[in-house]
């Protein structure tokens, strides 16, 4: 219980950034808060043993997001498929609300590894080595995730522009 004060200080300083990062990963504010809360609860008993807590918390949140679908599928009964859920999310959140709704909707359709790598690169500004640590993979794999993700987005945007021109 001696780690209460540093833990409180860290949460007060980084909670907003952690929730924003989790929101960009899962596109759900409630789920992002749940991810951050679950990670912080799990790390609190051994908080004093962490020399650099922030990278470890970021990695834990990323892993929680990547493994969430596995555990979610074992805990809950999924009555609809993922693509239907994405369509429902697109309907519930009109494209006119966000700053770039078209790009945001295509970003949601990326695989989880690619999406996490893109968010870590273009939101957090991390390099390949840092992203590789967080994703527990090699830097070359990170580059592959980012390049494939950007290619998917570019193809989707080009197709959307072609449909608009018609």
């Amino acid at each position: 219980m001696t780690s209460a004060e540093p833990f409180d200080r860290y949460v007060a300083e980084h909670q907003a950034g952690l929730v924003r990062y989790a929101y960009l990963l899962c596109h759900s504010y409630a789920l992002g808060e749940d991810l951050v809360q679950e990670v912080l609860i799990r790390l609190y008993p051994r908080w004093a043993a962490l020399a650099e807590p922030h990278p470890y918390v970021m990695r834990s949140i990323t892993n929680e997001y990547l493994s969430w679908r596995r555990r979610w599928s074992t805990r809950h009964i999924q009555v609809v498929r993922d693509d239907v859920l994405h369509l429902r999310a697109a309907v519930l959140e009109p494209p006119g609300d966000g700053p770039d709704p078209e790009l945001w909707s295509h970003l949601l359709l990326l695989p989880r590894q690619q999406r996490a790598a893109v968010v870590l690169r273009y939101y957090e500004g991390y390099g390949d080595a840092e992203i590789a640590v967080l994703l527990s993979c090699k830097p070359a794999t990170v580059r592959g995730h980012i390049s494939r993700g950007l290619a998917t987005l570019r193809t989707a945007l080009t197709a959307a522009e072609g449909e608009e021109q018609r």
Binding site: A16, Y23, P99, D100, L103, Y122, L153
Partner: protein, 178 residues
């Protein structure tokens, strides 16, 4: 093309993340806290004023309660009043009725013996009182003068007076018949 897409991604992620405000540590919560403190600032003087008012009115309210316990009988209330209560007597309900004592005080007035002086003037007054059925002082005082002829209160007693008039004035009539 790639640079443009990367710039769009950076701006999109930055704007989207800026729109996210955590519920527990966002600026909205910091702006809401002074509002709650304002409520406390308003409520604290009100509570203080209410407490002072209650302390000021407490002695008066307690005196009022003690005054209210005086007329209660000891058996009706389960509490024993600290102040000495007046002894419960059957005459106490009759004390606050002064109107009934008025006829008793006026009782000596009829003692003026009107029947003892059988003057015609007094008998004429008695006949007028008997003819009117209205309530007057004389019928209430009648029991003290039961043996008197006016105490009957009947119209027949009124005929007594005029019956005597011929007797008193019989001498001129007799003289005429003579």
């Amino acid at each position: 093309m790639t640079d443009d897409l990367e710039r769009r991604l950076q701006s999109l992620l930055a704007d989207t993340a800026a729109a996210v405000e955590p519920a527990l540590s966002g600026p909205a919560l910091r702006e809401a806290r002074p509002a709650r403190r304002r409520v406390v600032r308003v409520a604290a003087p009100l509570l203080a004023a209410a407490a002072v008012l209650a302390l000021a009115l407490a002695p008066q309210l307690l005196d009022g309660r003690h005054a209210g316990t005086h007329p209660q009988q000891p058996g009706t209330s389960g509490k024993v009043s600290p102040l000495p209560l007046p002894p419960a007597s059957p005459t106490t309900p009759e004390v606050p009725v002064p109107s009934r004592s008025a006829p008793t005080l006026a009782a000596p007035t009829p003692t003026a013996p009107t029947p003892s002086t059988p003057t015609p003037s007094t008998q004429a007054v008695s006949t007028s009182g008997a003819s009117t059925p209205g309530v007057s002082v004389a019928p209430t005082l009648a029991p003290s003068h039961a043996p008197t002829p006016t105490s009957a209160g009947t119209p027949a007693s009124a005929s007594v007076g005029p019956a005597r008039l011929p007797t008193t004035t019989s001498s001129p009539a007799a003289t005429q018949s003579r």
